[in-house]
């Protein structure tokens, strides 16, 4: 591919990535949002985080089947307990990494 072809491809990808990120914010930040929308959006973060995590813990990405007892899941349990106990983001990240690393060596 030539420079211009790359620029067109990545420019196009950039545009369709940027618009969904920008338009809701640009629109909603200058309007009075109804209370029901604020309440509903308040539940979106917990829902998104769960939806990002759960398939990676309970399924196998290659075959897209259920997979119980994956290392990702086994490490998630002590990591979750650690974060409930300490409420430390940095500590949780490091504990998760350490356990995952040790688990991979076994």
């Amino acid at each position: 591919m030539t420079f211009n072809e790359y620029l067109l491809l990545f420019g196009g990808m950039g545009l369709v990535t940027y618009l969904p990120r920008a338009l809701p914010l640009l629109y909603l930040a200058h309007r009075k949002m109804p209370q029901w929308l604020i309440d509903w959006l308040g539940l979106i973060p917990v829902a998104i985080l769960s939806a990002l995590l759960a398939p990676s813990l309970f399924t196998d990405a290659a075959t897209r089947n259920l997979a119980f007892g994956k290392l990702e899941f086994l490490v998630a349990i002590p990591t979750l307990l650690f974060s409930l106990k300490t409420r430390s983001l940095g500590g949780t990240v490091l504990v998760g990494m350490l356990l995952y690393w040790l688990g991979g060596l076994l």
């Binding site: 072809e5 790359y6 491809l9 990545f10 420019g11 196009g12 990808m13 950039g14 369709v16 990535t17 940027y18 969904p20 990120r21 920008a22 338009l23 809701p24 914010l25 640009l26 629109y27 909603l28 930040a29 200058h30 309440d39 509903w40 959006l41 539940l43 979106i44 973060p45 917990v46 829902a47 998104i48 985080l49 769960s50 939806a51 990002l52 995590l53 759960a54 990676s56 813990l57 399924t59 897209r64 089947n65 990702e72 490490v75 998630a76 990591t79 979750l80 974060s83 430390s88 983001l89 940095g90 949780t92 990240v93 490091l94 504990v95 998760g96 990494m97 995952y100 690393w101 991979g104």
Partner: protein, 231 residues
């Protein structure tokens, strides 16, 4: 720099480092794949600057390798990144009345990770749009650097070193814990986990993130409203 600016930067770094740690191995991996697919290192830099979206970039590299058309790559990117509509909307609650110029710049850096970190800080208080912007751009800089590094020297880095692959999972687990501020949040989280797994198993592609989030938040919202009106 004034003391205020130093504080701003320090707090931004303190909030962003888990993201950066997590982006590094993923960015390296992307660079290595891109190089194997025959993309020169400068195109990797160009893509990371213009697109800045991890999963879409992986898909792009795979599609370039299989000689897909630019149109189909761009369409796929659009679908994969539509989920940011939800994140952008949720952030609007905390960025009311902020100038459009600032928001236009801020929007560039909205990713799954920066969204989760910034929203958590906004909710806990003591956070403002400048600190949030620093988090976005630190994450962006590390991403660009890591992907270019991967394209240049990535094949010499051992796979799975130091459990780095788990950094983002660990971060998401902790941010999820921060979000659990009452029964309705726990219920919504459990619902979303269940729906996302079933959706992921049944429907190809990435629609499970948006699908499960919207379903779970809507059910959670309706339950909360019923509970309120029955009192």
């Amino acid at each position: 720099m004034t003391i205020d600016q130093k504080n701003l930067l320090r707090q931004g770094i303190a909030a962003a480092w888990p993201i950066c740690l997590g982006y590094f191995p993923i960015g390296l991996a992307l660079g290595v794949l891109a190089q194997k697919a025959g993309l020169p290192w400068w195109t990797v830099a160009m893509m990371s600057v213009l697109v800045f979206a991890g999963s879409a970039q992986f898909i792009c590299v795979a599609m370039v390798a299989s000689e897909a058309s630019a149109t189909s790559i761009i369409l796929t990117t659009f679908v994969v990144n539509l989920r940011h509509v939800l994140m952008s909307s949720a952030l609007a609650v905390y960025l009311q009345g902020v100038s459009r110029r600032f928001l236009a710049l801020y929007s560039y850096g909205i990713t799954d990770e920066s969204f989760a970190v910034n929203l958590t800080h906004f909710r806990e208080g003591g956070w403002d749009r400048y600190r949030a912007l620093i988090v976005n751009h630190l994450a962006n800089s590390v991403w660009i650097m890591a992907t270019v590094c991967g394209a240049l020297v990535g094949q010499f880095v051992p796979q799975g070193a130091l459990g780095l692959d788990y950094a983002l999972t660990g971060m998401f687990i902790c941010l999820l814990v921060f979000q659990l501020q009452g029964r309705i949040y726990i219920l919504t989280g459990l619902l979303s986990a269940l729906i996302s797994v079933v959706w992921y198993l049944l429907v190809p592609g990435d629609s499970y993130i948006v699908g499960a989030s919207v379903c779970a938040a809507t059910i959670g919202y309706l339950l909360k409203r019923r509970q309120r009106s029955s009192r």
